[in-house]
C-alpha cells in the first residue's frame, strides 16, 4: 500500500478497548498492591508481608513444579500419541484425532470433576483394587499434575500433527527400505522436522499450566495451592485485596516473561 500510515487510525478502536478493559485494570492491580491497611499512601508493606509469608513461597514453589512436571508429561505423551496417530495409524485413528481436537474446546474443570470419581476415596480405582489402593492421591500435587497432563496433551498434539503432515511419507519409506530401523527413522527424519512445533507446543503448555486455575479449584486439595489459587483466596475469600494484587503482579511478571520468550522464538516473522 502506498500510504501505510494513513490507515493506522483504524488500529485505534481495538487498541483502545484492550487499553480500557485490560491494561487500565492491570494498572489498578499494581496500584492496589502498593497500598496497605496499616500505612497510608504508597507503601511496600504489603509486598513485604506477602513475600515473606510461607503461604506465598509454598504456592510459588508448587506452581512452578506442577507446571514443569505437567509440561514434561504432555510433551512425552503428546509426541507418542501424535506419532502413532500420524505414522502408524490404526483403524479409527481419525476419530481419535477428532476427539482430541474437541477436548481443546472443553473446560479444564471437567477433568478435575472426573478425577474425583476415578481417584476419590470411594472412587472407581479404590473400589476396583480394594480398599485404599490410591490413598490420598486425589489431594496430592500428583493428581493436579495428572489432570493437567490429561487436559493439556492435546495442546502439544495439535501443532505436532500439523508439522507431521508436512513430512513426506516417501522419505520414511525410502529410509526404511534402505534398512533404517523405526527408531532411527524417527530420530533422523521425523523429529528434526517436528522439533520447532514440539518446542512451541511445550512452551505454550508451560504458560497455560502456570496460569491454570479450574483444575486446582475443582480438586480443592487443601495442601495444593498455586499462585492463581492464592490470588482467588486473597481476593474474594478473605477480601485482602492488596495481597491478592501483589500475588497477581508476580504472576503476571512470570507469565509475560515466558510469553515474551515464546513470541520471540516462534513469531520472528511478525
Amino acid at each position: 500500500m502506498s500510504h501505510p500510515w494513513r490507515r493506522t487510525p483504524w488500529l485505534l478502536p481495538p487498541l483502545l478497548l484492550i487499553a480500557g478493559f485490560f491494561l487500565y485494570p492491570l494498572y489498578f492491580v499494581v496500584r492496589e498492591s502498593l497500598t496497605a491497611d496499616s500505612a497510608p499512601g504508597v507503601t511496600l508493606a504489603t509486598w513485604q508481608r506477602v513475600l515473606t509469608s510461607g503461604r506465598f513461597l509454598d504456592a510459588l514453589g508448587s506452581t512452578v513444579t506442577i507446571s514443569l512436571a505437567a509440561t514434561v508429561g504432555c510433551v512425552v505423551l503428546g509426541t507418542f500419541f501424535a506419532t502413532v496417530l500420524a505414522f502408524v495409524p490404526f483403524p479409527g485413528a481419525g476419530l481419535v484425532t477428532r476427539l482430541v481436537d474437541t477436548l481443546l474446546a472443553f473446560p479444564s474443570f471437567l477433568i478435575a470433576l472426573a478425577f474425583t470419581f476415578l481417584y476419590g476415596s470411594a472412587g472407581i480405582v479404590n473400589t476396583a483394587l480394594g480398599g485404599s489402593a490410591v490413598g490420598d492421591f486425589l489431594y496430592s500435587p500428583w493428581c493436579v499434575i495428572a489432570a493437567e497432563i490429561t487436559f493439556y496433551t492435546p495442546f502439544v498434539m495439535r501443532p505436532l500433527l500439523a508439522a507431521y503432515s508436512h513430512v513426506p511419507r516417501e522419505q520414511l519409506d525410502v529410509a526404511a527400505s534402505l534398512g533404517a530401523r523405526p527408531g532411527r527413522v524417527f530420530a533422523r527424519i521425523v523429529l528434526p522436522e517436528a522439533l520447532p512445533a514440539l518446542a512451541a507446543g511445550g512452551c505454550l503448555t508451560l504458560l497455560l499450566t502456570l496460569n491454570e486455575f479450574g483444575i486446582v479449584l475443582f480438586i480443592g486439595a487443601k495442601d495444593v495451592t498455586t499462585l492463581p489459587m492464592l490470588v482467588h483466596s486473597y481476593g474474594v475469600v478473605t477480601f485482602d485485596l492488596p495481597a491478592a494484587c501483589v500475588v497477581a503482579v508476580i504472576q503476571v511478571a512470570l507469565s509475560s516473561a515466558l510469553y515474551a520468550v515464546y513470541r520471540r522464538t516462534f513469531h520472528k516473522g511478525r
Binding site: A105, I124, G214, V231, L241
Partner: protein, 264 residues
Amino acid sequence: MLVWSRRGRALLWTVFALVFVPVVLAPLAVLVLAAVAGSWNGVLPTGYTTGHLGDALAGEQVASLSVSLQTAFLAGIGAVIVGVWGALAVREAPPAARRIADAAMHLPIAVPSVVVGLGLLTAFSRPPIALNGTMWLVVIAHFVLVLAFAYSTVSAALERTDPAYAQVAASLGASPMRVLWRVRVPMLMPAVSAAASLSLALSMGEVGATIMVYPASWRPLSVTIFTLTDRGKVFLASAETVVLLATTVVILVGLGVATRRGRR
C-alpha cells in the same frame, strides 16, 4: 508408515491403547456415567437414572445455563467483531505499528484469567465507572479473554489469503468499503466462523475470571457447577457439565452448518 513389522505395530497399538484409554478416554466416560448414575457403590454404577439430567435442566440450573448462553453470545459477538477489525487493521499497518499492535492484541493470552478478573474488580468497583455487582463485569471479562483467541484465529487466516483479489478489485475501481465488504470479509468467513465457535466454547467453560467478578444475580453455569461440586452434589454437577458440553457442541455444529450454507 513408520513401523513395518506386524508385531511391532501390534505392540505399539497396545501401548497406545493402554495409555490413551485411562488418561484421556476414562475421565470423559466417567463423567457421562456419573451424570446418569442412580447409585454408585461398586466399580460401575449400580443403577441408572435420568433424574440428575432432569434436575440439571430445571429451575436455578436452567437460569444459570441461560446466563452462560447470554454471556457467551454477547462476549463472543463483541470479540469476533473487534477481532476481525483488529486483524484487518493490523494487516494494513506499517511494520512498526503492526508488531506492537499484534503483541497488544495477543497479550491477554499470557495473563491468567483470575488476574483479568481481579483487575476488572479493582478498576471498576469505584467511580468514575462502577460496574461491580452488574452482569457487565462478567461480560467484559469474557470479552477480554476470548478476544485474543478470536483475533489470533482471524489474523492467522488473513496471513494465508492472497492479497491479489483485493488488489484486483481495487484496480477495477471498487471503493475501499466495497472491497472490504465484497472481497476481503467474505474470504475470511470460515475463519470468522471458527473464531465465533472458539469464543463461545471458551466463554461457556470460563471459571477463573468469572468466579472473581460474578454477582449473585448473574451466575454462569461454570460457577454453578463449582458450587455444586463444593457442596458435594457431584452427580448433579456432572449432569450439569454434560448439559454444558452438549449445549456447546450443538451451537458449534449449528454454526458450522450455517457457515457452509452461507458459502454456497
